[in-house]
Symmetry: C2
Subunit: 887 residues, 2 copies
């Protein structure tokens, strides 16, 4: 027969910390503390298996449970030396939920259970504190009435409020024992009126009612939503912990508090926390009274009341000892709850403490220094995503926030500045030294210069991987996208949000980490990469197998990437170089040309500019690999939009308005993502790729020839191939240019030609493609778009509900869809390497910086990942953890 | 040692018809005829293997060839009783190409080889016809000079023209022997002047030069282009046939002609062809003289000169006998070339004769009746695509054609009518009984009614599978798309093509079969489905395993589909039902609604209309399966475009212009193909699918309840799923509606729920999906778009060059990309059936009507294909052939 109950307390326990799945986090750690001999009030845990059984059997308990609960209560009674329902020596218990994953506040709790008219009187006698006893009783009726019986919490509060008004008092503490007793009668009458039956006096009825309520709360709306948000399976269920009550509110020799074994904010190795004299646990968090610090002079409290160290030195010493013991036992910083009842210290909870990234790094490296952890374990302890907050400026957490609206947290960090509505305006103001925030319905490649000029970007449309989001992350600019409530009126140069209008020049602050748009300027804090950061990243680098490169094309981005430890460039997008004001003129001339000759003339103007870009980039990346992707986007992205722009271009080019307009119309596409772009341009307009290859080779030779010039390892990448044939044609073209350059310069440029794998067909045809390609780089953005048939620019309208309804665990543009896109990648790796054993494999989509995806790439055996410069440290750490996991 | 030469003639041959790959079509059939004992001038075939060796060795011949050619020439000499280069009894030979696949006129030929000054004189003596001998010699110099020596053909023609002018004569026949002799001297001088060396008098030099020229012509531009067009591999190479000349131009007891063993136009079992007395073969095709019919009273000649039957009854009898012999030997209608030299009949070529679809059907069924073929062989003989011309009206082939421009032949058939530029105008005029041609830059779903009203559609943009093309094929309307030269000015209601302007109301003719836009009205011929058609289709139906359904949603289309033998509807697109003028108002109201309630109100108006559509459809399809696809396209397709339309809608709906405009803007998508559509609508707006399910079930029950009502087998299809979860959610929704209907009507509707597989991820996740789906229908249009990353609406700008450069053998939207998309289909079939053994598999993309694709679907083990009603017979035949091929 299944064992449903697990006792703990009295220096022993049937469970342990290892039994977290069965007993929930709280129950497992209570058992562990009991085994360690720590002072834990006796109790038992009803297992998560019972929760499953309860729901399977239509919310009813198995018959065998009754006897087990009776035995469990006897265990508590014997250890506590009190009897449940006994008026002489009443035992009170708490009934709390406790699931495998922490779900703070989502489920129900009942305290002080076991009180009725008789035991309350007994408690009054026993404790010698009638006021305490009746306060406890009325709290119990209120809590049980709300949680178990379904009588509204506010109805009880109303009665209490009216009672206080009648007595002319303000605070609960002013209520006397008799006042409480009178209120208790009113409470009981309220229950009778609502339920047509009295408040249960039978303590066993109370116990079963509370257990049932806690199990039921597993399926309440809050819990269901929370699980969906945090991807917690419903099947896990919750455990229920029934434990003897201890009281921190029985007088001035009583107290209650929470402690972290180290400082969770800085990581300093010093106990940290707060407590209250003569209070119940909920009072510490409720904020009615100001808690006091544990340590004298501790920054954790602004109260000047004495610290626990001073007020209860004996208790503080015991707590310190237990704290050390727990930390060395769990080998991690702990978050502890304790209560002092009449001079005796009781431990109510311990768990791993949440901490800031800075604290996490300090604690991990300190623990290695202390010999508690080895380096690998320390590396495994840091949540890679948490590093994000260290790499960007962030808002002062203490500053007041006036939130105008929320959007998607598309690129982290924070910045304040004047609102502008065009990239031109952004450049103008920024050239004058103004901080500006670029606000657009959405951005296009033409906005690159404006985005660069801006401190942050806000778009009302688009998702986490829209153009704005991708580019902003690459540039390290804070960005919010999909802020649907922001109604932009470009003509009026203003936006409305709620009832408020924000005009050009008004100052707002963008918190890209949280996705919050704030009124006015909020002060920010600059990032500091501490010694612990460097130490831990060094350990990670020693462990990981995957190389980490960055997606970068500007000198600034490349420099950032090297600073963050990038080992090369995995994606240099050459089209970003063409949106510059001067260049776009030549680019448009090229596109508007009628024939190959016209295009060649325009391309000849672009050649020296593009060459110079590469020269700068190659100097910065000296000695490292640089993957240059040839022109990818459809040509119409470079063309003017709207009549006015078309007129300008026509005038500048000296052609008729109609001619430009009709060319623009001709190039327009219904689904540009699936249109005439990528290598399709290289096939139809070979002169473009020729020019680009020439610029790359000439730049490489120039850098090598210059004094002390160190070459980069050059990788030329062809985008959007569907099979081997396109690549063969374009590799021949590039080889021809190289031969020509070699003939002219007497020096043959070293290079590899490879391709993006970003279409499902390319993944399937990888064997054929690898006959020509020396490397593959998975373009997981486009591969996700095509494999799933989702345009990332248009996904905002349904992706949320898709994630919510479980179609994906996470947005597949953020974290790789391993079941679908992942299979294509695995297939391509296999077939590619079958055909060419030394094929180099990498990935340059957004997923290159996502830890879960990096774990997958490690499994696939990729050689490197490439991501935004600002995500390079995250990728380095995630790659190390992926390697550790594999070992 | 490889044998390079294969002799034939004198009642024997080293080759046979089975050696087509090695000897080419001409050589193999010459050998076969020689073995049959037919009168074939002796000769030998140099094999295609030599062609390969020739190119492999840098265009040089293997050493061993010389001796073989010498032996071959001796063989010819001995059979012909003449000697090569011998002035007394000169042997003349022809040197002709002959590859595995017919490539008419693409490669070079040299006739009368072996003539020089000496042998020409000998030939004059021998034949007793000096004029004939010198005419032959000058023809040889001209041909050899052009083909082998590279002296321009026109240069010789100029000399001839000048000679005739000098002599004051018009016709070549007026030239005397001496005139020719004089011209020969001028020809030789021309060669000497151009080549700085004399015309070769050495007959062996002539022979090797001609052989080399024929092999070289395998790689000439014409041949390369032709091979690309007809997908003939370069590696096949050509053979060369060297054969003793026979002359049809040695007097009035000589003749030359071509014959078909049956009428290639009607299929009538009667020899058919034309001939010329005293002429060389090239004269019959050259059109200088009007050929005569073989049979007296034959329609094949408009000459009233006597038929061969009358003029040379003995020769005619021999020819008739040989014709019967060849046909029964080859078991197919033959296309024959013959020459009569001085009363002796010689056979120069036989091959399977090209024929019209009508003839093909008649010949095949007649041959079965004659016991020559069995039914399966007859079925295998018909080119499925050829049926197309029988199913649509076609232009009178004898009418004059003034071609304005060409576009893509998007939907076959022909129609004439007045040009209109809007669907509204098309409806108006058509309601008045006018035939109209709808001319648009491109069409959208809102044009459905206009396309229905029009006789034909012309679009200047879009490809073979653009909206216009797909819909037009479904409706059986002739359609031309991608007519890039047609410059439409919608505002001016006119289009320009070349220098010509066509205004609204002007009449044009559309030949959708050829993709030609013609001025004025060209008379058309209505299709007739003869008895042979029905007979052969009956045999095909007995053989095939694949069921054939149609894609249809209107009663007219469904009726057409049944007429053409469809066994159900494989795709009923419910959205086409919403574009009707009355319905689109409610549809727009639904889309513009702020909340679910508003949408439900609008949907309630649509319900009865949609139900009525289904009632009609189900009545027509009684007893057959009908697959109904729930709403698929993005909602904004239903919304108004442009300010004026938005104003109308706002006024009709009683809301503000700005509100409608902003809603339209909000719904706009960058890549609608990859946007918020398909089941994504069903997930986000479940009330839409609920309404549709209700309409379907209620219609089914209504039809069953009505007198004599026979139910359809109902299949409800969910579009665009990515995995199993979406389908589970939506199947639950449909099941709930069914349960509700059952409760209300006391009758449970029978139905299956299944899904489209049209995204790569869905193909990969087929196992999971099949846990819920009872059937899969491959949406190969979208699957091709996503697997290849190509928007079919935008592919026109590069697809041509992609096919030309060999990225695809054919446009992958026309014929399935088996290597890429095909693998996804195979994977999905395998995983789907692993998970559900009785999973029904079908395909409803455009490829369902493409024979090559149907062969692939047969291999995959699909249960059915579904295609446009007009392609149903093609699919039935192709399915039978696919089955035969598999056996």
């Amino acid at each position: 027969m299944t064992q449903w109950l697990y006792n703990f307390g009295g220096g022993a326990a049937e469970g342990s910390a290892a039994m977290r799945d069965l007993l929930g986090g709280k129950g497992a750690n209570l058992a562990e503390m009991a085994v360690l001999g720590l002072p834990v009030p006796p109790g038992f845990t009803v297992s998560t298996e019972l929760c499953a059984a309860y729901y399977e059997q239509g919310k009813s308990f198995p018959d065998s449970l009754t006897a087990e609960v009776e035995a469990g209560m006897q265990h508590i009674e014997s250890v506590a030396g009190a009897a449940f329902g006994d008026a002489a020596k009443p035992l009170l218990v708490s009934v709390r939920s406790g699931s495998r994953a922490s779900m703070p506040g989502m489920m129900d709790t009942v305290l002080n259970l076991g009180l009725n008219d008789a035991t309350a009187a007994g408690l009054a006698d026993n404790s010698g504190d009638a006021r305490f006893a009746y306060d406890s009783y009325r709290r119990f009726i209120q809590m049980y009435g709300d949680v178990v019986l379904g009588v509204g919490h506010h109805e009880f509060e109303d009665l209490l409020e009216r009672a206080k008004q009648g007595l002319g008092i303000q605070l609960d503490t002013e209520m006397s024992a008799d006042d409480w007793r009178e209120l208790i009668e009113q409470y009981k009458a309220l229950v009778q009126a609502r339920l047509k039956k009295p408040f249960p006096q039978d303590v066993n009825e109370q116990l079963w009612g509370a257990m049932r309520a806690v199990f039921d709360s597993w399926m309440n709306d809050r819990a269901v939503t929370y699980r969906r948000l945090y991807d917690i399976p419903e099947s896990w269920g919750t455990a229920v912990n029934i434990q003897a009550m201890v009281f921190g509110n029985m007088g001035d020799d009583c107290a209650t508090g929470v402690a972290f074994t180290r400082n969770p904010s800085s990581g300093d190795n010093r106990i940290y926390g707060e407590y209250l004299i003569n209070a119940q646990g909920e009072d510490v968090v409720a904020g009615i009274r100001t808690p006091r610090a544990l340590v004298a002079g501790g920054e954790e409290s602004n109260s000047d009341a004495p610290a626990l160290e001073t007020a209860m030195p004996e208790m503080f010493a015991q707590l310190g000892e237990i704290s050390k013991r727990l930390e060395s036992h769990y080998r991690d910083m702990q978050d502890i709850e304790f209560t002092v009842q009449k001079g005796k210290l009781w431990m109510l909870q311990t768990r791993s403490g949440k901490r800031t990234a800075a604290a996490a790094l300090k604690i991990a490296t300190d623990m290695v220094a202390e010999g508690v952890l080895d380096e690998a374990t320390a590396v495994g302890r840091i949540e890679p995503e948490a590093l994000e907050q260290m790499l960007h400026p962030r808002l002062d957490p203490d500053a007041a926030r006036n939130i105008l609206a929320r959007g998607l947290p598309a690129s982290p960090g924070a910045a304040a500045g004047k609102v502008v509505f065009s990239s031109e305006r952004a450049e103008d103001l920024s050239a004058k030294g103004e901080a500006v925030i670029l606000v657009r319905p959405e951005t296009s490649p033409e906005d690159i210069h404006g985005m660069h000029a801006a401190k942050a970007i806000l778009t009302s449309r688009g998702g986490m991987t829209s153009h704005a989001a991708v580019v902003a992350r690459g540039m390290g600019r804070p960005c919010i996208t999909g802020a649907l409530d922001v109604r932009i009126d470009l003509a009026a140069k203003s936006f409305k949000v709620g009832g408020i209008a924000i005009a050009e020049g008004d100052v707002i602050t963008i918190d890209g980490t949280r996705g919050e748009i704030l009124a006015g300027e909020i002060p920010t804090i600059e990032p500091e990469l501490t010694g612990a950061f460097a130490t831990l990243m060094g350990w990670a680098d020693k462990i990981r197998a995957l190389k980490v490169r960055a997606n970068a094309e500007t000198p600034a981005d490349a420099a950032t990437a090297r600073k963050f430890g990038a080992e090369g460039i995995g994606l240099c997008r050459t089209e970003h170089m063409f949106f510059d004001a001067e260049r776009i003129v030549a680019m448009r001339e090229m596109i508007l040309a009628d024939d190959t000759e016209g295009r060649r003339t325009a391309l000849a103007k672009l050649l020296p500019m593009q060459r110079q870009d590469f020269v700068e980039l190659f100097r910065i990346m000296a000695g490292l690999p640089v993957t240059v992707r040839l022109l990818d986007p459809p040509l119409h992205e470079f063309l003017p939009h709207g009549e006015a722009e078309i007129r300008d271009v026509a005038a500048a080019a000296g052609v008729k308005f109609e001619e430009v307009a009709s060319r623009v119309a001709l190039l327009r596409e219904n689904n540009p993502m699936l249109g005439h772009r990528g290598c399709r341009l290289g096939i139809s307009h070979p002169e473009i790729y020729e020019m680009q290859a020439r610029a790359i080779f000439e730049a490489a030779i120039e850098v090598e020839k210059s004094a002390g010039g160190e070459a980069v390892a050059l990788e030329i990448m062809i985008p959007l191939v569907m099979g081997g044939k396109e690549l063969r044609i374009l590799k021949d073209l590039i080889d021809d240019v190289a031969a020509e350059i070699a003939a002219k310069h007497g020096k043959s440029p070293e290079y590899m030609v490879g391709t993006m794998i970003e279409l499902p067909r390319a993944a399937l045809r990888a064997g054929d493609i690898a006959e020509t390609a020396r490397f593959f780089s998975f373009g997981t953005n486009d591969l996700t778009q095509t494999a799933l048939g989702i345009s990332r620019d248009d996904a905002a309208s349904f992706m949320d509900s898709y994630v919510r309804q479980g179609m994906f665990a996470q947005d597949p543009f953020t974290s790789l869809d391993q079941e679908g896109v992942g299979e294509l990648i695995e297939t391509a790796c296999l077939r590619g390497r079958e055909s060419r054993a030394d094929l180099k494999l990498g990935i340059c989509g957004e997923h290159g910086g996502d830890p879960a995806s990096i774990h997958f790439f490690q499994k696939c055996g990729l050689d490197y990942v490439s991501c935004s410069p600002y995500r390079v440290p995250i990728a380095r750490l995630a790659a190390a953890q992926a390697k550790l996991k594999q070992l």
